[in-house]
């Protein structure tokens, strides 16, 4: 882990309108993330952890405040710029894996590369890209399932494929939203091993969890409560 700050959030707020009432989920969140750091955002269900993660990863927009990645203000970026950021710089792992059912394991993993490349460029670099996808899947122990469809995989295997997809374009930051939340204890432990292994190799990871045991396995834990972040260790 280096001391170089890669991502910062300052005074971030987010509100949701539910009919007549307005719910203020984030009430001025400040956060900084160093390169190579493994950060856990802990909090109770409904505390706004996932919302904060979505905002940090450019999937959603905040109402006010600023988020800077690598010196650039994400909030001020064009929709196309945010898409490029999500594709090339960030990787995202969802709690429920969210794999495309029509695509097999290899194709799901290749999806970010397909988004990044035009038809011609993809065909030209097809060999290298496929090798990269297979390497990532091999690293995650999924090399024997390349042609399988998501519905033919177990929960743990699906989450490994989701992680492989997130890693495909070698992102600077990996965001994981409750990556073990939908898995049994043993499988969840295996997924945590995978994330730790990636962290050991220098991958910056931001993980959201409501499980304190899981959170303790990271470098740093922040707790989101009442719309504000509190440093734990």
């Amino acid at each position: 882990m280096s001391n170089q700050t890669i991502l910062t959030a300052a005074n971030v707020t987010k509100t949701f309108r539910m009919g007549e009432s307005v719910i203020e989920v984030l009430k001025g969140v400040d956060l900084s993330l160093n390169a190579g750091e493994f950060l856990a955002i802990e909090g109770r269900s409904g505390s706004g952890k996932s919302t904060l993660l979505h905002i940090l990863s450019a999937l959603d927009e905040c109402n006010s405040g600023s988020i800077h990645y690598d010196g650039r203000d994400i909030a001020g970026m064009s929709p196309k710029g945010r898409c490029e950021l999500r594709n090339a710089q960030f990787g995202f792992v969802f709690q429920f894996y969210y794999l495309l059912p029509e695509l097999n394991v290899l194709e799901n993993t290749l999806l970010p590369a397909m988004v990044q490349h035009s038809v011609l460029s993809f065909r030209r670099n097809s060999g290298a890209l496929r090798k990269r996808a297979i390497d990532v899947l091999t690293e995650l122990g999924m090399e024997h399932r390349l042609k399988h469809k998501p519905q033919q995989l177990s929960g743990g295997e699906r989450q490994r494929v989701a992680i492989a997809r997130a890693l495909m374009n070698s992102p600077k930051v990996l965001f994981a939203d409750e990556p073990t939340g939908n898995l049994d204890i043993e499988t969840g432990r295996q997924i945590m091993h995978v994330l730790e292994m990636l962290h050991d190799k220098g991958q910056t990871i931001v993980m959201v969890t409501h499980d304190r045991t899981i959170a303790r396995q990271t470098d740093r834990v922040v707790v989101l409560a009442e719309g504000r972040l509190r440093e734990v260790h």
């Binding site: 999937l59 898409c83 594709n87 038809v119 993809f122």
Partner: protein, 502 residues
């Protein structure tokens, strides 16, 4: 790359989209068949009717008009003109061998000239078509083919009413028994002789004994005032020289062709001596019903028509002056012939079918709108069903334009595949439409195409490449149009809301 990859995946895996595909296929095939048959009918009408008339037609009522020979001579001197010939068209009663009696359309042709003006000679079986049919037999070698086609050309060049398909001995025997040496020859429409195609497409009914039978034609004087007066009716015996198959039911089923001068004579239209009230002996000029004019290739018919009209007007004016000088109405100068292009002459038919074609295109456009709406509904369902997938694709960096592109491309793919399949199905149906029609008639007793109504004995079976391209193009555009709104909806989705969609 992801757009193409997902489009191809969805095209193969999303079976609900196959409903759109089938709708596009059926619409394309249906429109192609209808447009091809109607457009083909128009083309065939133009080709066949134009083939049986001149480019310019000078016409009048059944009484006919005089001084036609002066007109023909002057018209033929125009640089735009290939040839001009008078034609008589009337109605008569025909009796063939006392076995078949029918009302017929009688056409008087100067056969030595008519080949320069229209394609009538090409329709004669013994004097042209039999050689062409033999040349087109599958077994014919290229040498045989060339020889047979040469024979067809030679026979057509010498086509005449004096021809007979019978051998010399039979002819001599008949001449002795029937005293037919002085009879003129007559060419009859193939349908008049009941020559037709059987269920297998083979020609039946062209037995030679039919050409041995005497044919008697009864014609009425063109100026007849009292049809019960026997002097107003001419009865003449003919032998049947040949049969004509033009492909136009109206002609093949009802028309007979006789020499122009005989028709003129029997209808009282030849030049004749008359005595005026003041006892002067004058010659009443010969008349015809029509003059057909063939123009040189590339000549604009409307421009040539004006020149020909000028000639007709001048000839008639000159005739009127002479008439006035004689102080006797002999020249039929009160009758002013009409000068028209062949298209103007048949405008009523052509306009009716063109209007019908527009109406059918409009009706099928409405059906296509239904197909577009069907595509819209199916795509909307797919977008709703694929909401989470859209969120996933956006989460890995796909732009709104890219997501819209997936669904527009998907629509285009359905249009291309459906339009292509529809074109193929339409092409097969149109190509074998006569065989399909025959089979339907054989198995189910259905006859959709009535040649008496639709003029031709065969359903047009040619596809116009331009029309086919437009139909397939519209199918593709319609499919894209149906996908536009769902694509916009997909593009506008928020990725977080989309992945959470239940």
């Amino acid at each position: 790359m992801y757009k193409l990859h997902l489009i191809l995946k969805y095209l193969r895996k999303r079976r609900i989209a196959w409903v759109s595909l089938i709708a596009v296929t059926l619409c394309t095939a249906m429109v192609l068949v209808v447009i091809s048959v109607m457009g083909g009918w128009l083309r065939m009408f133009e080709e066949k009717f134009h083939g049986l008339s001149g480019d310019i037609m000078i016409t009048t009522s059944l009484r006919g008009f005089s001084h036609y020979q002066e007109m023909v001579d002057q018209i033929e001197k125009l640089p735009e003109v290939v040839a001009a010939a008078p034609v008589i068209e009337a109605y008569g009663l025909l009796d063939i061998g006392r076995q078949k009696r029918d009302g017929v359309q009688v056409i008087g042709y100067p056969i030595d000239k008519i080949g320069k003006i229209n394609k009538f000679i090409d329709s004669l079986y013994f004097q042209h078509q039999q050689y062409v049919e033999a040349a087109n037999q599958p077994g014919a070698s290229s040498v045989q083919k060339a020889e047979l086609l040469k024979q067809a050309r030679d026979a057509a060049a010498h086509a005449s009413f004096s021809f007979s398909p019978l051998d010399a001995a039979t002819r001599a025997d008949l001449a002795k028994r029937q005293q037919r040496n002085n009879w003129p020859g007559m060419i009859v429409g193939s349908g008049v002789l009941e020559i037709r195609k059987d269920r297998n497409g083979d020609t039946v009914g062209r037995e030679l004994f039919k050409y041995e039978m005497p044919a008697t034609l009864v014609l009425f004087n063109s100026q007849a005032k009292n049809l019960s007066d026997p002097s107003e009716i001419t009865r003449r015996a003919y032998w049947i020289a040949d049969d004509s198959h033009t492909g136009v039911y109206q002609y093949d089923g009802q028309a007979i062709y006789i020499p122009f001068d005989i028709a003129q004579q029997d209808m009282g239209m030849a030049a004749q001596q008359v005595t005026t009230a003041d006892n002067r002996q004058l010659t009443q000029p010969a008349r015809t019903h029509q003059i057909h004019v063939k123009l040189k290739a590339g000549v604009e018919p409307l421009a040539a028509k004006d020149k020909i009209r000028e000639i007709v007007d001048n000839v008639m004016q000159e005739a009127r002056r002479k008439d006035e000088a004689l102080a006797a109405p002999l020249s039929w100068t009160d009758i002013v012939p009409k000068v028209e292009t062949w298209r103007e002459n048949k405008a009523m038919w052509i306009a009716a079918v063109e209007h019908e074609k527009i109406l059918v295109v409009f009706l099928f456009s409405m059906i296509s709108v239904v197909a577009v709406f069907l595509i819209f509904c199916i795509f909307y369902m797919i977008v709703v069903e694929k909401t989470r997938d859209i969120g996933i694709i956006k989460s890995v960096g796909a732009t709104a334009t890219g997501v819209a592109g997936i669904f527009l491309g998907y629509g285009a793919a359905i249009g291309i595949v459906g339009g292509g399949l529809g074109f193929f199905a339409g092409f097969i149906i149109v190509s074998y439409i006569n065989e399909i029609h025959t089979a339907l008639g054989r198995w189910m007793g259905i006859q959709i195409w009535n040649p008496e109504v639709y003029v031709f004995d065969r359903i047009p079976s040619q596809i116009d490449p331009t029309e086919a391209s437009i139909i397939v193009g519209v199918a593709i555009l319609s499919s894209i149009a149906g996908a536009i709104v769902p694509a916009i909806r997909a593009a506008r989705m928020n990725p977080v809301e989309a992945v959470r969609y239940e």
